[in-house]
Amino acid sequence: MRADEVENQSARASDYSPDGVDLSLIRWFISLTPAERLAFLEDQVSGVMKIRALNAGE
C-alpha cells in the first residue's frame, strides 16, 4: 500500500463500533498502565474542577 493510501485510510479511520463506541479510544486507554490511567483521570478531574470554579456564577 502506498504512503498516501495509508494516510487516506487513516484520515477516514474513525473506528467506531455499530453502537457508536470509539474503539481507537478504548485501545489507547488499554495501552496505558493502570498508574497512567489513574493519573490521566486524576488530571482530568482536577482540571474540570478548576474550570468549573473559574466559571462559577456565570
Binding site: A11, G20, L54, N55, E58
Partner: protein, 168 residues
C-alpha cells in the same frame, strides 16, 4: 495555577487564533454533567486560514492518528479539509477534530448555540451549550449517545431549577 492536560491543549488551540468550538463529553462535563469522558471533541472552522493555524498547532502538540499509533501518521491539510472526524492522539491525550456534527452542522451553524467559558484565568473558549449537546445526541441516537442522555437531561433540569431559584 498548574493547568490540566486538556486545559493546556485547549489553551494552545485558542492562543493560536484557531476558530473552534468545544463539543461532546468534555463540554458537557464543564457545564456540570457528571459523566466520564476521555477525549476532547472540537468542531473547527474550515476556512483556509483556520486550517493552516490548526495544522501548525497539531504539529506542535505531536498529533498523530489514533487508529494506528504505531505508524505515527500526522494529519495534513487534506485531512483537515475533509468532512469526517479525525481521531488523534496528542502529547496532551486524545483530541478529536470534527468538520461537522449531527446532520452536517458546521462551526458557523453551531456558533449561535455556544457560551464562552474560562478555561484558565485569562483564556476563554467557545463551548457548545448543554441543551444543544442534548439535542445533538438525541438526533444521533446511537446506543452510546442514548446511554448518557438521562444524565445530561437531568443536569440541564437541575441547572435551570437552580437558576430559577436564584432568580426567583
Amino acid at each position: 495555577m498548574q493547568e490540566s492536560k486538556f486545559a493546556a491543549c485547549l489553551t494552545i488551540l485558542q492562543e493560536s487564533g484557531s476558530e473552534f468550538i468545544l463539543v461532546g463529553g468534555v463540554a458537557a462535563v464543564l457545564q456540570g454533567a457528571p459523566v466520564q469522558t476521555f477525549d476532547i471533541d472540537i468542531v473547527y472552522s474550515r476556512t483556509a486560514e483556520n486550517l493552516q493555524r490548526l495544522l501548525g498547532v497539531l504539529h506542535s502538540i505531536d498529533a498523530i492518528f489514533r487508529i494506528q499509533p504505531e505508524r505515527r501518521l500526522s494529519p495534513n491539510l487534506t485531512h483537515l479539509d475533509g468532512t469526517g472526524h479525525l481521531n488523534l492522539l496528542t502529547r496532551y491525550g486524545p483530541l478529536d477534530l470534527l468538520a461537522t456534527v449531527g446532520n452536517g452542522l458546521t462551526y458557523q451553524d453551531l456558533l449561535p448555540h455556544c457560551r464562552q467559558m474560562l478555561i484558565t484565568d485569562s483564556v476563554r473558549i467557545q463551548v457548545l451549550n448543554l441543551d444543544f449537546i442534548i439535542a445533538l445526541k438525541e438526533q444521533l441516537g446511537s446506543e452510546k449517545d442514548r446511554a448518557v442522555l438521562p444524565t445530561l437531561r437531568q443536569t440541564a433540569r437541575e441547572i435551570k431549577k437552580q437558576r430559577g431559584d436564584a432568580n426567583g
